[in-house]
Amino acid sequence: MERREVSFRIYRYNPQVDRTPFYDNFRIAVEKGITILRALNHIKEHLEPRLTFRAFCQAGICGSCAVRINGVSRLACTTQVWDLLTGSGDETILIEPLDNLEVIRDLVVDINPIMEKLKRNYSWIRPAIPEEEMGRKEHIVSDEEFETINASSDCILCGSCYSECSMMAVNRDYISPPVLLKTFRMNNDTRDTFACERLREVTTDDGLWDCTHCYKCTEHCTKKIPIMDGIHRLREEAFERGMTQTKGARHAQAFFDDIRDIGRLREVTLPLRTKGVLGSIGMVPLAVRMGLKGRKPPLLVKRIPDIERVRDIYSRLEANRGES
């Protein structure tokens, strides 16, 4: 069996004794086929019993052991050490806790914020069937209807997308990708009766419209769920349900209109159209600061020469609505 010496550089922090976090190095011989979790267990059992991390099923289905490995959030139990080796002389693997959540100790983070957000955003089915009739008959659900929600029901709430999300990094109150995914899963379940109220809740501040489309959630999903597709679908649903008067929806509509009309964005009037007159007043200091730094959007924006080609794209998209 192939073996190699590998260093594990692990984030350590015990609030009881450490004033600040630090990194510990453990050098161990690793066999081919060993996962990061097996390596962590080895270190805990043979070198440092105080090393603290969560792990449970060891099979990639419970979601306990998500950590950042070489800066990327993934499950320790399904990540092979061998796949991370570079072949260079000094092999070091960096292990850190998930981002955007408070560290309790070492690699253990507080995941209660995720649970609280699930709760606040009605992340459950409200069935049409009255209580007393439960269990009497099944809903008829087509295979297509099942397939629509199939991938989204794979979510194991491991928190990897929460950790990778670039919006979470600047706003801890942001609804977060796993909660939006749950919203998508519930709102596209033909058995649910609460879609409208749920969507209204997720389109409030710090909600659906704050996503910046960085796609990191999808890229790093440990179950390969196309989370971003779900978020896009929810935005379409918001328009379909006429929820067009939120800041986010108006912002999206302004982009849509500008590109269709002149092929580029009218930045100066964007805040006015998104936030309204009163909302925009608060933006003045920001505009001044931007101006001082030389960031001055043009007051008059000309239509681009080939606007017909842009409009052609619009009409083709319009014709193919619903297909993806």
Binding site: M1, N14, P15, Q16, V17, G33, T35, E45, H46, P49, R50, T52, R54, A55, F56, C57, Q58, A59, G60, I61, C62, G63, S64, T78, Q80, I104, R105, V108, I111, M115, K119, Y122, S123, W124, I125, R126, P127, I129, E131, M134, G135, R136, K137, E138, H139, I140, V141, S142, D143, F146, I149, N150, S153, D154, C155, I156, L157, D189, R191, D192
Partner: protein, 567 residues
């Protein structure tokens, strides 16, 4: 800190969550708390892949509850209590529909009804499923509904002790893992739903690291007998290296088991059902093949192959996506291209807390799911019956608890009981101690696998009993190296090991005592079932000195009388 609730549920897997949900639905005025050592969606219910049995008749129109009862009783090798099995199977269609009604995303037939597939040891195709993530989706559905109902959760609390006064439930003592504070929960009703204990086989187990039988051990110490502990199910298809599970659904969908001669050897052991014989029979046949030299050899031990290639890439991707992922992650094998290397792995504990229709010997204490032995699985559980067990008895316990709790009086938990538990925890950090957790645990897993495994014989079983006894002795000198109070996982490991060692002794002594072969319990020196002497449940109780004493209990019979079991 002292908490007070009408009902405290220990364990947040499918059974615990359904009990909580049902309790608040039945009686909104009772206060309910769920205590769990992991966040609810981490529970091991999530790992159940294959499905849940219910005679819905969506596939085989002529399927009935009676046939489901018959399959279950026969599968149990006639050790199941038939009143409990009747209840289990008769409730199956309604609980499965109820989970569907609450949002569980079941796979569907073209006509839009819940899809059903064949499973081992059954005469009809009645296993309802959601791809190969059935347990995961049921667990999440129940968790979502508990959030909807505002159920109170105490996550990452570890059960230390079950308290009663003269046989009346008083509540539980727990450890808050985030702070290491001892917190008591005074409750007139406690429902134990802590899952199985097959992790005592450690590396030769499909179980999660935390399936350490905490509720069983607490019940044992509180004086409740454990029943039929010798019956441990070995699942035929564990992955060669890790013991992780490949669902029976893979054979249900048509997978072949092959030896190194490329032979479908099950033809020699179960000519009718082939790969879909019951789990005990298939696991034993595989072990025989390996012993007789028909297995493949590798650094990670001998193995056989599970071949899915003939199912085609489409079917594998659609119906067994997780299996494909697991094989690729843990064995580096894509089942579309190559057969999966497998061997039997300890998987399920049929035995557990003695409970009659979920009620235990302590008034106000219920036990449900894998931690309990309500005796619906007898000597061998059928695939697809464990998710059913947690749903049916979770619901029932929740309902009964909600009605019973307001009628009961509690005095509370005595300071002496709390002091005793606290003293024990402090003592682990003693400087004179030197035994290491990892070493004792490793030896426990090894002796259980070697001496109390699939094939059992007096000599090895005696060795197993002796070795577990001596490990328990060594445990008294185990050293807690982490003396911090914030999220001390070293302490949790030690507490779990203590539980596993007590339960391992129960398994070994009852296996030594039962002089027959029945279901998963196979004695090389007593290869036949002996109904005359052994058609009875075994009971195991622990004295104050830690010694086990054994007793027996009659099996409740019903419609089906004893018959030879062949497939």
């Amino acid at each position: 800190m002292e908490h007070k609730y009408d009902i405290v549920i220990v364990g947040a897997g499918g059974g615990g969550l359904f009990a909580a949900l049902e309790a608040v639905r039945t009686n909104p005025r009772v206060s309910v708390a769920v205590i769990s050592k992991v966040y609810p969606t981490r529970s091991h219910t999530s790992a159940a892949q294959g499905g849940v049995n219910a005679a819905l008749g969506n596939k085989d129109r002529d399927d009935t509850v009676e046939l489901h009862v018959f399959d279950t009783v026969k599968g149990s090798d006639y050790l199941a209590d038939q009143d409990a099995v009747d209840y289990l199977c008769s409730q199956a269609p309604s609980v499965v529909r109820e989970l569907e009604n609450l949002g569980a995303p079941f796979s569907r037939f073209p006509d839009g009804t819940i899809a059903q597939r064949p499973f081992g040891g059954t005469v009809k195709d009645r296993c309802c499923y959601c791809a190969d993530k059935t347990g995961h989706t049921l667990l999440h559905t129940l968790f979502e509904q508990c959030l909807r109902r505002g159920v109170t959760f105490f996550n990452e609390y570890f059960l230390l002790s079950l308290e009663h006064a003269d046989g009346d439930c008083q509540g539980v003592i727990t450890l808050n893992m985030a702070t290491s504070a001892i917190e008591t929960f005074v409750a007139s009703v406690v429902i134990l739903a802590t899952g199985g204990h097959a992790k005592m086989y450690w590396n030769r187990s499909s179980n999660a690291a935390g399936n350490t039988g905490d509720g069983q051990a607490a019940a044992l110490r509180a004086g409740i007998p454990l029943k039929d502990m010798e019956f441990i199910q070995f699942h035929p298809t564990g992955l060669r290296k890790s013991g992780l599970l490949v669902t029976e659904g893979a054979r249900g969908e048509g997978g072949y088991l092959l030896n190194r001669h490329g032979e479908r050897f099950m033809a020699r052991y179960a000519p009718q059902k082939m790969e879909l014989g019951p789990r005990d029979l298939v696991a034993r046949s595989m072990e025989t093949e390996i012993i007789e030299g028909n297995g493949f050899e590798s650094d990670a031990g001998s193995y056989l192959e599970l071949d899915l290639r003939h199912l085609g890439a489409g079917a594998i991707k659609k119906k067994l996506p997780q299996i494909r992922e697991l094989s690729m992650h843990f064995e580096g094998v894509d089942p579309i291209e190559e057969p999966i290397p497998v061997r039997p792995t300890a998987h399920y504990s049929m035995g557990g807390i003695d409970a009659a229709m979920a009620r235990t010997a302590i008034r106000g204490v219920y036990a449900i799911g894998e931690c309990a032995c309500i005796s619906v699985h007898g000597a061998n559980r059928l695939g697809g019956n464990s998710l059913l067990d947690i749903l049916v008895f979770g619901k029932r316990a929740g309902q009964e608890a909600a009605l019973e709790a307001p009628e009961r009086k509690v005095h509370g938990i005595t300071p002496a009981a709390v002091r005793m538990v606290a003293h024990e925890i402090r003592s682990y950090a003693g400087h004179e101690r030197y035994e290491r957790y990892g070493i004792i645990r490793e030896e426990m897993g090894k002796t259980m696998g070697d001496n109390v495994g699939i094939y059992r014989i007096e000599g090895r079983l005696r060795k197993g009993v002796d070795e577990i006894q001596s490990l328990r002795e060594r445990f008294r000198r185990i050293r807690l190296f982490d003396t911090g109070t914030v999220f001390n996982t070293n302490l949790i490991q030690i507490l779990e090991l203590k539980n596993m060692l007590d339960l391992a002794l129960c398994v070994a002594v009852t296996a030594l005592e039962r002089l027959e072969s029945r279901g998963s319990h196979y004695r090389e020196d007593f290869p036949r079932r002996d109904d005359e002497a052994w058609h009875r449940h075994s009971l195991c109780t622990m004295g104050g000195d830690g010694e086990m004493s054994l007793n027996h209990k009659a099996v409740t019979m019903g419609k089906y009388s004893l018959e030879t079991r062949s497939y």
